[in-house]
Amino acid sequence: MPGDPNLPNPHRRNFLRGSAGVAIAPFAVRAARAEIPALDASEDARALTAVGMTVNGQRRRLSVDARTSLLDALRDQAGLTGAKKGCDQGQCGACTVHVDRRRILSCLMFAVASDGADITTIEGLAGEDGALHPMQASFIDQDAFQCGFCTPGQILSAVACVKEGHAETEADIREYMSGNLCRCAAYPNIVAAIRQAKPLMEG
């Protein structure tokens, strides 16, 4: 209830950031990926498992329940709410992120399975100087969204689609972007944005 002085700050993003501060410690050991040991079977299903990963260039260590999806770990523990939970069943693509340079669905990935992974979310796409990625800029130019809920997933999927070589034709783009649904049906504009961004990404 916004404005109720008896309640703590109801702003959800702040709330998530707050809890993230507790859950995350900077990944202290400068271990190379291959040095991360194989996870051992914990006998206690309620014990948390420590997973180390690189998120948007930063080493992170999270403590997760083995049932946690990578999506929930990113949103609720790392405070990165860009990846969205549309269906939580692999059907909509709103949760798309890059893991080891591949686009995947973070709702269907166990967070424990991403131990040692290199992850990029929408928050990590812009340049260090804050300059938008060409795909982000093209989505704005082409008005490739309405409500914006699917957009982080669309953009990460689109970046991968270009890098995979699956954006040569409009038909290709439509086929290889079919895992990202848009309830607002911004599809023609999304295709146009990808066509605009492709040469900029390759140039």
């Binding site: 051992d40 309620r46 049932r67 692999g90 269907l108 990935m109 166990f110 399975a113 895992g179």
Partner: protein, 333 residues
């Protein structure tokens, strides 16, 4: 979803040994396992992640003069993008590209893909009591329920659920073998068409695998039919949907157009990856005319059994097969 523990072994031996624990499952890409665990259809208390097994052959695509060998941990996307395979057998990348989405294909492995579970809505929804596959002996809500998506070949009075894959229909068609490692004894190899069991009275038992057996790879003999091959998939929408009907066909034609050998698999219509041997027999030795293609399709669906909402799958399945056969015959190879 109940609490779980998780391990990620590095050797096949350790992985199969870990399956000695009760309520333990292998997990590869997790796109079936996690999905069904979230809705409490799959129950496990321990997961054995096989994706970091170190044996390089598990993740390899190997091509020799006589065979194609595909490791069970190869990602669907990597096999789809393999240029060598595309040239040898276009059927394989076509079936993969038309399945799921690129995100899922990046996660899913071939071993997990062939063991994906049915999308029967009653199976996925635990608020329905009656589902012999999920809840043995409870009945089947689909028999007299909404069965528009359901199977017409290989059904029983206990279950009419569709086997949903695309690539597995290809493996069934092209005489693939499955390599299996287990705790007891030597690794074994079986025909892919023996891997899945017809539902019969026990639709909950879907394969012949023992619970601690790990699929390590698939072996496809390089017959002359592989080059003239295609996969046709008919869906409710153009992309990112399961098949209502599909056909995997591979043909070896003599210069005069006579069918020397045919391989036919069907999807979207059957309870297991379906090999249509009757259709193959109808084609063999004949010139592939439209009339012969129709005769093959009649043969393929002669044993179809329909329910209230899925009769349309007979004409749709036949027409899909006819189009696939004529399309393959017209290919330049």
């Amino acid at each position: 979803m109940q609490p779980i523990t998780y391990e990620r072994p590095e050797t096949v031996e350790a992985a199969v040994r870990a399956l000695g624990r009760p309520e333990t499952l292998f997990v590869a890409g997790g796109t079936t396992v996690f999905d069904l665990m979230k809705v409490n259809v799959l129950k496990a208390s321990h997961l054995v992640d096989v994706t970091r097994l170190r044996d390089p052959r598990l993740s390899a695509i190997e091509v020799s003069d006589t065979a194609i060998r595909l490791g069970a941990l190869v990602r669907m996307a990597d096999l789809a993008a393999h240029p060598g395979i595309r040239a040898i057998c276009p059927l394989i990348p076509l079936s993969l590209d038309l399945g799921a989405s690129e995100q899922i294909r990046n996660m899913a492995r071939l071993g997990g893909n062939v063991l994906q579970r049915t999308r029967c809505a009653y199976f996925r929804d635990t608020s329905f009591e009656a589902c012999n596959k999920r809840n043995p002996g409870s009945g089947c809500a689909a028999l007299d329920g909404h069965n528009r998506q359901h199977a017409i070949l290989g059904t029983s009075t206990a279950c009419i659920a569709i086997y949903p894959g695309d690539f597995p229909q290809v493996l069934a068609a092209v005489d693939a073998q499955v390599e299996i490692a287990g705790r007891q004894g030597k690794p074994r190899t079986i025909p892919f068409t023996d891997l899945h069991r017809l539902p019969g009275e026990t639709p909950d038992v879907e394969t012949v695998l023992k619970r601690d057996e790990l699929i390590t790879g698939f072996l496809i003999p390089r017959g002359p039919w592989l080059r003239r091959s295609l996969y046709l998939k008919i869906r409710d929408r153009q992309s990112y949907a399961f098949a209502l009907a599909s056909a995997a066909v591979a043909l070896d034609l003599a210069p005069d157009g006579t069918v020397r050998e045919a391989r036919v698999g069907l999807g979207g219509v059957a309870t297991v990856p379906w090999r249509a041997r009757e259709a193959e027999a109808a084609l063999k030795g004949n010139a592939l005319t439209e009339a012969i293609a129709h005769r093959a399709a009649e043969a393929a669906f002669a044993g179809a059994v329909t329910r209230s909402h899925n009769h349309y799958k007979i004409p749709l399945g036949k027409q899909t097969l006819v189009r696939a056969l004529l399309g393959a015959a017209a290919m330049e190879v």
